[in-house]
């Protein structure tokens, strides 16, 4: 185990009461650095792991479950090194990104086999299949499944193990909107039960819907951590964008230009987009200003508080 300690000061990257600890972990493959000096921890609830392709998400997840050894640093799951420690896997289930299913088995056979392999009995097989809404297809060979159905079979094979830690690599790939909603609800429920659920995804809207906390990786490094609004607030070098709509946008724009809280104003159609370093201050100032000008303010909407905007800022220029 590495001697690298947890951060001294509270860090958004370090979950309180962590079940998975990643301490100064690096991983390189020859000359390529996949993960660079990463320190973070995962605890109860759903954590979304975000990053563009090649950011190192899958490499990190594989190290979390012991499929890869860190080149440097250390990973601990429930206080133990997952590498070459089969006992850890009684508490840990993984859904890999790749298919990882036998085409010749039915979904029920696959989930049942997963249960027997982990020694948990087959009593929960039907519930796991129901949890991913795969009952109708459970007795058909997986070779005939769509990508989304295979994904759900893999998730069911992980759910049936009833472990306190779940690591899911792109589990929503290939699923349709209804299936996604179903799986997201299932992940949220697992997180609410106090399990540690780590989900990697590049579909930002879905991470936003399911994760209590986000870790964003870029080029193998941790680019941001915390909840989305907090990450956005921490980006003090990037002004917030707010969309306003009024019956005379030009008059309101002219009045706003003189305000200290406003960085820039652009008029677009019936509305205007304002950049500000202090969106709350802008919010307090704009309503009295519009009233004093005799204008009706019909919209005040932050444009870049979404995870997509935050993520776009994080990876800009890369």
């Amino acid at each position: 185990m590495s001697a690298v300690a947890a951060p001294d000061s509270p860090s958004p990257a370090w979950a309180p009461q962590p079940t998975i600890e990643v301490r100064a972990v690096s991983k390189w493959f020859g000359q390529k650095v996949a993960v660079s000096d990463l320190t973070c921890a995962f605890g109860a609830g759903v954590t979304g792991l975000l990053g563009p392709n090649g950011a190192g998400k899958t490499t990190l997840l594989r190290m979390l479950v012991g499929l890869l050894s860190p080149s440097d640093g250390a990973v601990a799951v429930l206080g133990r090194d997952p590498r070459r420690n089969p006992a850890v896997y009684r508490s840990l289930a993984m859904v890999p990104e790749e298919d990882a299913v036998y085409g010749f088995q039915t979904a029920r056979q696959f989930v049942r086999y997963a249960a027997t392999l982990s020694g948990v009995g087959t009593g929960a097989v039907q519930h796991a299949i129901a949890a991913v809404a795969l009952e109708d297809a459970a007795d058909r060979p997986i070779s005939g499944f769509s990508k989304g159905m295979r994904q759900r079979a893999k998730v069911a094979a992980a759910l049936v193990l009833d472990t306190p830690v779940l690591v899911l690599d792109e589990p929503l790939n290939g699923t349709d909107p209804v299936q996604r909603a179903h799986l997201i609800a299932a992940f949220r429920r697992l997180g609410a039960e106090g399990r540690t659920v780590v989900v990697s995804s590049h579909i930002l809207a879905e991470v936003e819907r399911m994760a209590d906390r986000v870790l964003a990786m870029v080029d193998g490094k941790l680019a941001a951590a915390g909840d989305v609004a907090a990450i956005r607030r921490a980006m003090t070098d990037i002004p917030f964008r707010v969309r306003l709509e009024t019956d005379d946008p030009h008059r309101l724009a002219a009045a706003l230009v003189g305000s200290a809280a406003v960085t820039s104003v652009a008029v677009q159609g019936r509305g205007l987009t304002v950049e500000t370093a202090d969106p709350a201050g802008l919010g307090r100032a704009v309503a009295p200003l519009a009233r004093s000008l005799g204008l009706r303010l019909s919209l005040f909407e932050p444009e870049d508080l979404s995870l997509e905007s935050v993520f776009r800022y994080l990876v800009r220029g890369r």
């Binding site: 594989r62 027997t116 392999l117 982990s118």
Partner: protein, 291 residues
């Protein structure tokens, strides 16, 4: 008005005991048995293993039938095939069976990406290989021993002294055939598994394995015939289990080029052991990093 109900689709907690590595290895073993025999799979998956089994067993059944027929004609003591001779027939089929079974056991795990699933279960690479090898061993042993059981049980009723006396007098043959089967198993299964560990499709495991074994036989015969190249007889890996079998069954002197080269059963046992250990070592190395 119809009452509505909302079902809790959340997954049920596992309240019971969580089994460990032994249970996981047993699960792999059972899965291996089913996979090699094509059980719980479509008919296509059953065709090859069961056809080969039929080819191995049917001659024994036929010989028994012929023996009964000749006895009914008043011709006593006709024995069409001895157990030792029957191995010469099943040895070739066993080579094919082992090649197919090993490919079927190991290749899909790698080709379908399921190895990483195994690697994130309470299993070591050694447990995985043990479970798979045990499955292969059970099926191949059964495959080779079954025809001998048929011969043994079929001859008993035709015995002039009755089945009981026959069985008591000849029970030793079952130990001999069992030990001989183990010899074939030890000689064929480890290299077959090694070929399967590196193949991307089952056919690409079984084909090259059978080809290499046959080529080794042909090549060593050609080399040994040169006179000064007797040592090459050791490379005929198919010959070794046959030599050991003849030794166990008290039927020496049928060792062909190998015998003429001056080697005996202990050398064959040594070669079988060396090949098996080397293959096992390479297999463990291959599977130490399954992801």
């Amino acid at each position: 008005m119809t009452e509505g109900v909302v079902y809790d689709l959340g997954y049920r907690r596992h309240e019971g005991e969580r089994m460990g590595r032994a249970a996981a290895t047993r699960a792999l073993y059972r899965d291996g048995l089913r996979r090699v025999l094509g059980l719980r799979r479509r008919a296509r998956a059953k065709v090859l293993p069961w056809s080969l089994l039929a080819v191995a067993v049917l001659p024994a059944s036929g010989f028994i039938g012929l023996a009964v027929f000749t006895r009914d004609l008043g011709i006593q003591g006709v024995e069409f095939f001895s157990h030792a001779q029957y191995f010469d027939l099943t040895g070739v089929i066993a080579l094919l069976f082992v090649a197919i079974a090993a490919g079927e056991l190991l290749v899909p795990d790698r080709a379908h990406g399921v190895l990483q699933v195994y690697a994130s279960r309470p299993l070591t690479a050694g447990d995985y290989l043990l479970g798979r090898a045990a499955g292969l061993a059970t099926v191949v042993f059964g495959f080779m021993e079954l025809p001998h059981l048929v011969l043994f049980l079929g001859r008993g009723p035709g015995s002039p002294d009755g089945f009981g006396s026959y069985a008591a007098a000849n029970a030793g043959i079952l130990w001999q055939t069992s030990l001989s089967c183990l010899g074939y198993l030890a000689a064929l299964a480890p290299p077959a598994l090694l070929f399967a560990a590196y193949a991307r499709r089952p056919a690409l495991a079984s084909g090259p394995f059978v080809g290499v074994m046959l080529l080794l036989s042909l090549a060593t015969r050609a080399l040994v015939e040169q006179g000064d190249l007797r040592v090459f007889a050791l490379f005929d890996l198919r010959q070794h289990p046959a030599v050991v079998k003849d030794w166990i069954m008290g039927n020496p002197g049928r060792w062909g080029e190998y015998g003429r080269a001056g080697f005996g059963p202990w050398v064959s046992l040594l070669v079988i052991g060396l090949v098996a250990l080397t293959a096992a070592y390479l297999l463990v190395r291959r599977y130490r990093r399954p992801a």
